[in-house]
């Protein structure tokens, strides 16, 4: 039974680790639609451990260990596809096609998305390559600098800028020319 004491410990751990676990899952997953499911599975495992042994000290590192295992098994059993770690492979660069040559001082506000429609923008982002979604998440939600995003996703800074700039430009145009009607 999930008693009040266990629930309290769980809520504290959740509060302390959620943002980092979410970031880890977003960066490691190969399908954005899976993120919520995986995060839930990770914390259900934490509850299971808490219920089994209340005296066991669950650390942040322990939860990351669960996260790593859950991501691997999620993809092994649900997709039968091997997960490709974005943290360890240099091969990702090869898959990225550089179209624009973005200057260092490029202005992201030049393409201001002034239509405040969460669902449309969310759908737009989801349909993009998963790497683009990750860049947007890290840049806008985690407030990471381009240099740090490049290092986290193991791609070049130029590619991060390219993806950000190109996608914003596309999104601004999409929203301006009937994005809402098309969705």
């Amino acid at each position: 039974m999930l008693d009040q004491e266990t629930l309290k410990i769980f809520e504290k751990l959740y509060e302390e680790t959620y943002e980092n676990i979410l970031k880890y899952v977003v960066c490691s997953c190969s399908n954005i639609e899976d993120v919520k499911d995986i995060v839930q599975t990770i914390y259900l495992e934490v509850i299971k451990k808490l219920k089994k042994d209340a005296s066991f000290k669950i650390t942040k590192q322990y939860i990351f260990g669960i996260a790593k295992n859950k991501i691997n098994s999620y993809y092994r059993f649900n997709y039968k596809a091997k997960i490709v770690s974005l943290f360890s492979s240099k091969n990702n660069e090869k898959e990225i096609e550089i179209i624009d040559n973005i200057p260092d001082e490029f202005d992201l506000q030049a393409y201001l998305i002034n239509k405040n429609n969460v669902e449309i923008i969310w759908d737009f982002l989801k349909k993009k390559k998963v790497i683009i979604f990750k860049i947007f998440y890290l840049y806008y939600y985690c407030n990471l600098k381009i240099k740090d995003i490049a290092s986290t996703l193991n791609i070049s800074e130029a590619n991060v800028k390219n993806y950000l700039y190109r996608t914003l430009k596309e999104l601004a145009s999409f929203m301006k020319y009937g994005g809402e009607n098309n969705v």
Binding site: L2, K80, L112, Y141
Partner: protein, 255 residues
């Protein structure tokens, strides 16, 4: 609103920390609720075979029968009489099924005064459904089974390769904010919904609403029933609801 604010808002909304936490706790609740039923003493003895059947499916384990004499709890006329068969002990049996579930969770619309589920409105058969007022959440699932002919398998590795390509039934779970009360409705117009337990039916008394016959069982805070109405197979399991709420629920479906 700047791009920063806009995207931040989108990610905050879509990966909402509090919502995800609520879903985790509610899943844990549903899991516990199921476990309570599944791990009754007789089934504990059979734990080893159950582990195997989760993978290969298809084993049936029978329980004993202990249904006490039912009391009538509601009678409107001769065509509507409701009895509850109280289960004393160990009368559950279990069928392990090899299924895949695809789930979504959503909040019920506050403006919906009579708590008729939005998602369920697409199903004509649930158009009048009435659930208790505090049931603000709904999880809906699609239950898939594999096509046995094309998925015959001999070992665990092959079992993981199975394709779950046959939609067996729909499943709606309504629950309150604290996830302590719930109503679980499974239905299909093609197949009997899959349930992983059943009862030995000796001594149990049949209820009826508008002459549609069915049996209601009660174990601790849980009511179970199944019936066929308007060419749909229904299977209902409730947790922690009152007899009055149960009657309202059943009469809203069979009307």
């Amino acid at each position: 609103m700047s791009n920063e604010e806009l995207f931040k808002k989108i990610f905050e909304e879509k990966f909402n920390k509090e919502e995800i936490k609520k879903e985790i706790i509610s899943k844990e609740f549903v899991k516990e609720n199921n476990k309570k039923i599944k791990l009754m003493p007789i089934l504990k003895l059979a734990l080893a075979p159950i582990c195997l059947t989760i993978i290969i499916g298809g084993f049936i384990i029978f329980g004993g029968k202990k249904v006490s004499k039912p009391d009538i709890i509601f009678q409107e006329n001769n065509s509507t009489q409701i009895y509850v068969n109280k289960i004393k002990e160990n009368s559950l049996a279990r069928l392990d099924c090899d299924i895949k579930t695809i789930s979504k969770t959503e909040k019920l619309d506050d403006s919906n005064n009579n708590n008729t589920a939005n998602s369920s409105q697409q199903f004509e058969v649930l158009k009048s459904l009435k659930v208790p007022e505090d049931f603000n959440n709904i999880e809906y699932n699609l239950i898939y089974v594999s096509d046995n002919e094309n998925n015959k398998t001999a070992n665990i590795e092959d079992a993981r390769e199975k394709k779950y390509n046959v939609l067996n039934n729909y499943n709606f779970i309504y629950y309150n904010e604290k996830s302590e009360r719930s109503i679980n409705i499974s239905f299909s117009n093609k197949n009997e919904p899959i349930r992983d337990y059943f009862f030995i039916e000796e001594n149990s008394k049949t209820s009826k609403i508008n002459n549609i016959e069915f049996k209601i069982y009660n174990y601790e805070k849980t009511y179970f029933t199944k019936f066929i109405y308007n060419n749909y197979y229904f299977d209902i399991e409730t947790s922690n609801i009152t007899q009055e709420e149960l009657i309202t629920l059943l009469t809203s479906i069979i009307n």
